[in-house]
């Protein structure tokens, strides 16, 4: 079994209200100089055949119309 992490984020150019809210909250705490905040999600799994993870992403873990994914091993 191999531990695999999948990062899923909104596609570039798609409005990301969560990211915008976080970006606006940071300066309020004194963290200036932060831009392009995006909030996505991470799926962590143990796979017998990690080569199949991209297919899992295409079919279920991500919606390729609105999200990009990145498989990290």
């Amino acid at each position: 079994m191999a531990r695999v992490r999948v990062l899923i984020r909104p596609k570039e150019g798609i409005l990301d209200p969560q990211g915008q809210a976080v970006e606006r909250a940071l300066p309020a705490l004194g963290f200036e100089g932060v831009a392009n905040v995006h909030v996505g999600r991470m799926v962590e799994l143990d796979a017998e055949d990690p080569a199949r993870v991209p297919e899992m992403c295409e079919r279920l873990l991500a919606n390729p119309l609105i999200e990009d994914y990145e498989v990290l091993q």
Binding site: L15, P17, Q18, L60, N63, L65
Partner: protein, 222 residues
């Protein structure tokens, strides 16, 4: 004429949908774990939070046993109506174009609002006329219709934009004010507003009845 209304774990509007259908035709509940559609003439995928909306809205429900049958039914031309979460499920299933994103204002919105009928020649809207305004409530956190620009252009050209939010009534940030869309063939229709909550004057509007009456080919004032 018999409607089948699907019940998923996490559905919450299936009983209202069942009652709305029964004003105009027979209707029964279908269970998400069954493959059998029991010979119904039309399928309603209702609102709620199927499978907890885990991962993404509608993403898990799309792979339930009943949905495999609904996808087949829809591809063969059977009428399928998806309301709110049902619309999200139909997009995830690939029966409808696009996707529903979190509302641009980040808030869950529950409000009666006005919709304009854009295409009145679908099996779901033929009791209306193009330009008619319907008062129907929305209640959702992820109702912002999105599709790439070239897909939107194609949808408009093919008459797949069936309902739009009236000017000033697009509260979720949907692209081109789109509230309800169909597949190119017109037999699958999804909308974020809840027509099943607007079939009785007691709750403020009967305009939603038009959708069910159109499908059942019954008079609107049933």
């Amino acid at each position: 004429m018999r409607f089948g209304v699907i019940r998923f774990p996490g559905s919450c509007d299936e009983i209202d949908a069942l009652r709305a259908c029964r004003r105009f035709a027979d209707a029964e509940l279908l269970w998400h774990g069954d493959r059998e559609l029991r010979g119904v003439d039309a399928v309603v995928v209702p609102g709620g939070f199927s499978y907890g909306d885990y991962l993404r809205v509608g993403a898990i429900a799309r792979f339930s046993p009943v949905m495999e049958s609904v996808i087949e039914f829809g591809r063969q031309g059977g009428p399928v109506l998806g309301i709110c979460n049902g619309f999200q499920v139909l997009c995830e299933a690939g029966l409808l174009p696009g996707a529903l994103l979190p509302n641009s204002g980040r808030r869950f919105i529950a409000r009666h609002l006005d919709l304009e009928v854009v295409n009145a020649s679908t099996p779901f809207t033929h009791k209306a006329a193009a330009g008619d305004v319907l008062s129907i409530p929305i209640k959702h956190g992820a109702g912002r219709f999105y599709a790439p620009e070239e897909v939107l252009d194609g949808m408009e050209a093919q008459g797949q934009v069936v309902l739009r939010y009236a000017p000033g009534h697009n509260l979720n940030g949907s692209l081109r004010d789109i509230a309800g869309v169909s597949n190119p063939e017109g037999n699958v229709f999804g909308l974020m507003p809840h027509p099943e909550h607007a079939v009785d004057p007691l709750t403020g509007s009967e305009d939603g009845g038009l959708i069910f009456a159109s499908l059942a080919r019954q008079p609107v004032a049933a």
